[in-house]
């Protein structure tokens, strides 16, 4: 009985003074389709961190749409780190004071440990002969991608298509808009998120081509059958960064900064890069990239900065109400 009391008291004492000892768990708040990736990362990170620090930690995961997750962190979801697929979603956290304003310089490559690009998944044999962005606007082609109003994935697709059209039509805005309007009209249904669009294409057999991140395209093909689908990488696409950040407000309150930093650093180690690459994300580590070169065809990538003048400008010009997106997204 005495022992029970002592135990209970210890638990209470420990539970009520979290700042006393460094916690042994962190929460990674992440985007929707990254569960498999971060499960693999966690499995490798835990022993690596234990070997380096002598502490065995637990990494918990929360996954939902990137923008919804940003909102949840602001409302109090105690994520120590965020791993998103949208720069603007981390900017929201920075604006709300959860993440330092210079988060993008705290880790290499704009705090983006790996990257991807919008690419195409078509049915086996590519019956509609889809090779590049222009083919998506052809008559009789049904295209599936998530709604750019609700999905970061969909916004990347819209911007990538526009970047291609800007080059193709040498900046003739009327022709660019005509192309984009046709493209949007070819979409029978706009799902709200990336994985829902994938499910519509694979389980509900909707559409001739799915436009989503290359990581999803290659992953789906591997998981659901290389005999059922083909991957098509367009001539040009948009660099899609997957930014990470430490949530200062949470780690300072919990005293978990060391683990959080080690966790994000781990993503840049050869081991972390290998895991990202084996989940079909492109990586910057040259050795790992070379080992996986066969998975990733050469592609010319433009950046949001070069093609559109950065995310702030994009948000104002394209995605605001009545912006350029609304001009071509007539069937929303």
């Amino acid at each position: 009985m005495n022992k029970l009391f002592t135990t209970a008291f210890t638990v209470l004492a420990l539970g009520s003074t979290p700042a006393f000892a460094q916690p042994t768990d962190i929460l990674n708040v992440s985007y929707d389709i990254a569960r498999e990736l971060f499960e693999a990362v966690n499995t490798a990170f835990v022993p690596a961190y234990a070997a380096a620090s002598g502490t065995t930690v637990t990494v918990n995961q929360s996954h939902a749409g990137s923008s919804a997750q940003a909102r949840a962190v602001i409302e109090g979801l105690p994520g120590d780190v965020v791993t998103f697929n949208q720069v603007v979603d981390i900017e929201k956290l920075a604006d709300a004071g959860f993440v330092s304003a210079d988060w993008a310089t705290e880790f290499p490559n704009n705090a983006s440990p790996f990257y991807s690009l919008p690419a195409f998944l078509v049915r086996a044999g590519n019956p509609k002969g889809i090779k590049d962005w222009g083919d998506l606007a052809a008559d009789g082609v049904q295209v599936i991608f998530p709604n750019p109003k609700t999905s970061g994935n969909g916004r990347y697709t819209y911007l990538a298509a526009r970047a291609w059209a800007n080059e193709e039509y040498a900046g003739d805005e009327a022709k660019v808009e005509e192309f984009l309007t046709k493209l949007f009209n070819n979409v029978p249904v706009f799902e709200t998120g990336g994985r829902a669009a994938t499910t519509a294409f694979t389980e509900r057999a909707l559409g001739d081509v799915l436009v989503t991140f290359e990581a999803e395209v290659l992953g789906v093909r591997q998981q659901l059958g290389a005999d059922k689908y083909d991957a098509v990488i367009p001539s040009v696409s948009l660099l899609s960064e997957f930014p990470v950040a430490i949530v200062d407000k949470v780690v300072d309150a919990r005293g978990s900064r060391d683990i959080a930093k080690a966790y994000l650093d781990f993503l840049y180690t050869p081991e972390g890069q290998e895991i990202a690459a084996s989940h079909f994300n492109r990586v910057n580590d040259e050795t790992v990239a070379a080992a996986h070169a066969a998975d990733f065809p050469e592609v010319r990538l433009v950046t949001v900065e070069d093609a559109f003048g950065g995310w702030k400008a994009v948000s104002a010009e394209h995605f605001a109400d009545g912006g350029l997106l609304d001009k071509v997204f007539l069937n929303q």
Binding site: D32, Q61, H63, I74, E75, G76, Q223
Partner: protein, 270 residues
Amino acid sequence: MTAKIVRSPAEITLIGLAFVFSALILLVPLALIFAFALREGVGAYFANILERNTLHAIGVTVLTAVIVVPINIVIGICVAWLVTRFKFPGRQLVITFVELPASVSPIVAGVVYLFLYGNQGLLGPLLQFANIQLMFTVTAIILVSLFVTAPFVARELIPLMQQQGTEDEEAALSLGANGWQMFWHVTLPNIRWALLYGAVLTNARVMGEYGAVSVVSGSIRGQTNTLPLQISQLFNDFNIAGAFAAASTLALIAVVTLVLKAGLEGRGWR
């Protein structure tokens, strides 16, 4: 009385159609859940259910039900008692108010809780000051479940208690019973089936609730995932067998609840 009922071809066709549609709408989906769950063999099925996060989700769901159902039974009885045994101004308003959670969309219920108890919410600063984390914990799941299922027991009890009137209870009181004895020996036996039915409905809704819970749970695997959230995540991960194994536990709980209810009723009627 024993004359054979002769059914016209139209009747037979209608009854047949009813059977076919019931099978298509109810039985086939239910059977499919188990068929998909067992597609990769019995061993894989149990491995899927015993998977750490799925097991934890089952635990969270059961814990929520174990807390929410008794509380809402007590609240339901109190409210039904209040509005059927006393006349007071605003009585109709109370009845309407009790119905409210059932008429708003669950997702709205979740968002309302977020606006109230989230960091940016009305009580957010106060909670932060007291260092209390409500949202994105199991507590939040229990709170929204309480809200969403609050009407079910009262809804079943109010019409019944109105119809039964107060004579039995007045008789008990005039024969010298105290309030507690009257409730225990007269009121409760009169309302037990409606009460049980309300409890079953509450339980089913608590375990199956998705919309409201998804807003406030934070979906932390192995911490704040309920079974419906876990099922949807497994399905989105293309883990079809895992999703259906988890779904089969939810279906099993539902079937067991129904059997229990039938068994209790059978005993009661004798």
